[in-house]
């Protein structure tokens, strides 16, 4: 059976629009859900994405021919009517809603349902085919309340005035959400950042996301950062870069931190379960809410989510897209 939407290992092909959604190789026409590297690549002929996502892509891959799409605006490509709807994942992230031949398909990209001060909240859209992610699709993944995780971070900071707390956070999205979350929790001290976060934080600022006073951690004496929070990409946690810091308590903000072994593997002393992806309850709850005829699962723990759909009398299929899921993102 050939459908007008075709999953391929390198992305989802929308035949009547002759366009690919989140293709992992350069394509002439690409519809991009958000700026993470496993969804947005450089080198496309023309990319349709939100203004924010295009800015992020420009920062990462240099300028590319882009068509800015506003949230909620309808546009047509071939015989397909297309609309971008907030996904709540990171700044600029969108679900792509496609309508053709009386059928509606929603492609979520990555998404979450928790409040996030740095992006618009997920908007559920009832549909016929729901194409979802499944990063945390196991019932062991239940993310706790974000505010209480941030309070644990602040607790550790205040209990150790001579040390610093070094938090590993993904450079796009997690780092800014964490910083904004700290501000919302009343922490207004300067926050030190790794050089790799600088431009992305500035980009968030240019879109009106308030991050407060940020200082570059590079080139500072250790004692300047005593009692402070330092945010760095996860890869810098156990590397030479962290040697300059004053006896850091190593923390990491990620949904993976729910699993002890994951935290220990990374030598994390303070695991913070803060995720930009939907947890098990959010994934299954969202499927119930949009009530599709069929659920397609792009990446993650697809077997478990497909099993859940089946046992709840819903049709599901795993697409096994390649090159998705960056371990550091989460």
């Amino acid at each position: 059976m050939s459908h007008w939407i075709e999953p391929h290992p390198t992305g989802i092909y929308v035949r009547p629009a002759d366009a690919w959604i989140d293709p992992s190789v350069p394509r002439e026409r690409a519809l991009v859900t958000h700026g993470h590297a496993d969804h947005a690549r450089g080198g496309h002929g023309r990319a349709w994405a939100t203004r924010e996502t295009l800015a992020i892509m420009a920062l990462r891959y240099g300028t590319a021919a882009g068509a800015a799409v506003g949230y909620g605006e309808d546009f047509r490509l071939g015989g397909v009517s297309i609309r971008y709807v907030p996904a709540g994942h990171v700044l600029g992230s969108a679900q792509i809603v496609l309508e053709h031949a009386g059928e509606r398909v929603v492609v979520t990209g990555d998404y979450k349902r928790r409040a996030d001060p740095t992006c618009l909240p997920f908007e559920p859209v009832p549909c016929d085919i729901f194409v979802t992610e499944a990063t945390f699709a196991l019932p062991v993944f239940r993310h706790p309340d974000t505010g209480s995780e941030i309070d644990r971070l602040l607790g550790a900071l205040h209990a150790n005035p001579d040390r610093c707390v070094l938090v590993g956070a993904y450079a796009l999205g997690k780092a800014q959400r964490l910083i904004a979350g700290l501000r919302a929790r009343g922490h207004h001290d300067a926050i030190y950042i790794h050089g790799a976060l600088e431009r992305m934080c500035a980009l968030y600022g240019s879109f009106g996301v308030e991050l407060g006073e940020l200082r570059l951690a590079t080139g500072l004496p250790a004692k300047a950062m005593r009692g402070a929070i330092v945010v760095a990409p996860p890869s810098a946690l156990n590397d030479r870069w962290s040697r300059r810091l004053p006896d850091p308590i190593t923390a990491m903000a990620s949904g993976w931190m729910r699993i002890r072994q994951r935290a220990r593997q990374r030598n994390v002393e303070l695991p913070l379960v803060i995720s930009d992806h939907a947890d098990w309850d959010e994934l299954t709850g969202t499927i119930r809410e949009v009530a599709p005829n069929e659920t397609w699962i792009t990446h993650g723990r697809d077997e478990a989510l497909a099993h859940w759909c089946m046992t709840h009398q819903m049709r599901a299929r795993a697409l096994a897209l390649v090159g998705r899921e960056d371990e550091d993102e989460g």
Binding site: L138, P139, V140, F141, R142, P144, N238, D239, R240, S242, R243, R258, I259, R260, Q261, A263, R264, N267, V268, E269, L270, P271, R301, E303, A304, H307, W308, T311
Partner: protein, 523 residues
Amino acid sequence: MRSFSQLLDGLVYTRSRNGKLALIADYMRGTPDPDRGWALAALTGNLDLKAVKASAIGDMIRARVDPMLFEMSRDYVGDLAETVALLWPKGEETDDGSLTLSTVVERLHGLSRAEAPAALAAMMDHLDAPGRFALLKLATGGLRVGISARLARTGFARAFSLDVDDVEQLWHVLQPPYTPLFHWAEGRAERPDPGGMPFFRPFMLAHPLEAESIDLNAYAAEWKWDGIRVQIVGTGRETRLYSRAGDDITGSFPDIARAFSGDAVLDGELLVKGDYQGGEAASFNALQQRLGRKAVSAKMMNDYPAFVRLYDLLLEGRDDLRPLPWTVRRDRLETFMAQLDPERFDISALIEAPGFDALADLRAGTRDAAIEGVMLKKRDSPYVAGRKAALWYKWKRDPLTADCVMMYAQRGHGKRSSYYSDYTFGCWTEEGELLPVGKAYSGFTDEELKWLDRFVRTNTVNRFGPVREVEKSLVLEVAFDSIHDSKRHKSGLAMRFPRIARIRRDKPASEADTVEGLRRLVS
């Protein structure tokens, strides 16, 4: 349960020993009786509830969660208790505070295997995920948070500014939840009286000898044996063996415990002998065969029969000999030997040397694998706990050394986790190949570590997960106490206590030692 589960989480994630001690001390100070006593019992491995089997926990969760999803989750998480703790279906993810650690322990204690699952499930509903994890670990009898009993007792001692050796003395006579111990620690009660019980006494330890020479009229010399230092505590009715850390190791050496029925406390070295070793004390490698085994088979006892080489007599009946001079204790020990089975006990002989230089020659000349060096004991020294200046000295044999080539490096732990600080090194075979002969992660200065780390990073030729293979160009002079045959290593050799003595930047790798050369050092 909340503070206990937080303590466990903290211990799992905290890397430094001091950090762990601080967590334990804070908990012990801030938690009421008898909760803290049960926690101390759990941390020291003295709380063996074993209320349910792992299979019963699997059944519990399968009744509540789709079995397929449970299996997938377990494959992903690995640990059963953790999987179930995370999966447990519950509306509010909070600990409602209704369960204290003592309530949990009491309930689990009285349960039959049949009623355990229902009771456990009822408790699970009141806890959050870390609390459920702690509960399941307690209920299945394996806490395993990666700390030793000694560390837990040190944390307890630190909480109340006590001497940990003093705590060790009392430890084995008290039962969980140790309320009299806490009351004494807080100065609210008298010191518990351990009279009549086979309890541990802290060992007397030696300083390394640094002086050039020592007067043998003032110091007696005996061999330092390479086994496990052991204390035999007999009350006449019961005998226990304690390791240097104060752990009860009677279970690993029932043959020794059975052979002793006296009312005395002795200090000695546990060794094994085997016929294949000519009936003499065998090397430490042979002893390892018996270490750490909970149950010892008859074959094991037969193949590696243990005996104790006695150093000292601390108590005989009611007589505490510890304040007496070493010469008097030595006389009493020689007399005491008469009542012991010579198959199981002998006395550590004194070394007769006319002078210090002659002793140095004897020390240099010995090739006995079971000899680690020489002990020098002040003839008038009392037996005192710990390391006291100028009473006992250990004078280890000079280490052996070999020039080896660095082959692989791995990141260290804790403070060292950003450095490549664990090195695997090799020597040349006749065919001109490098064969790994050992691994070392100490011996270098901080400066040298920085240099080695840089060397590894700039000379990496391959990566296998956390391991980097390096250019085979750097010679390390490795020092080690002894080297033995080993079936576990491809080179057929195993070094004891290898450490990096020097970095030989001056030496080309081709001039490093050969495996054959190393084999000649085997003792």
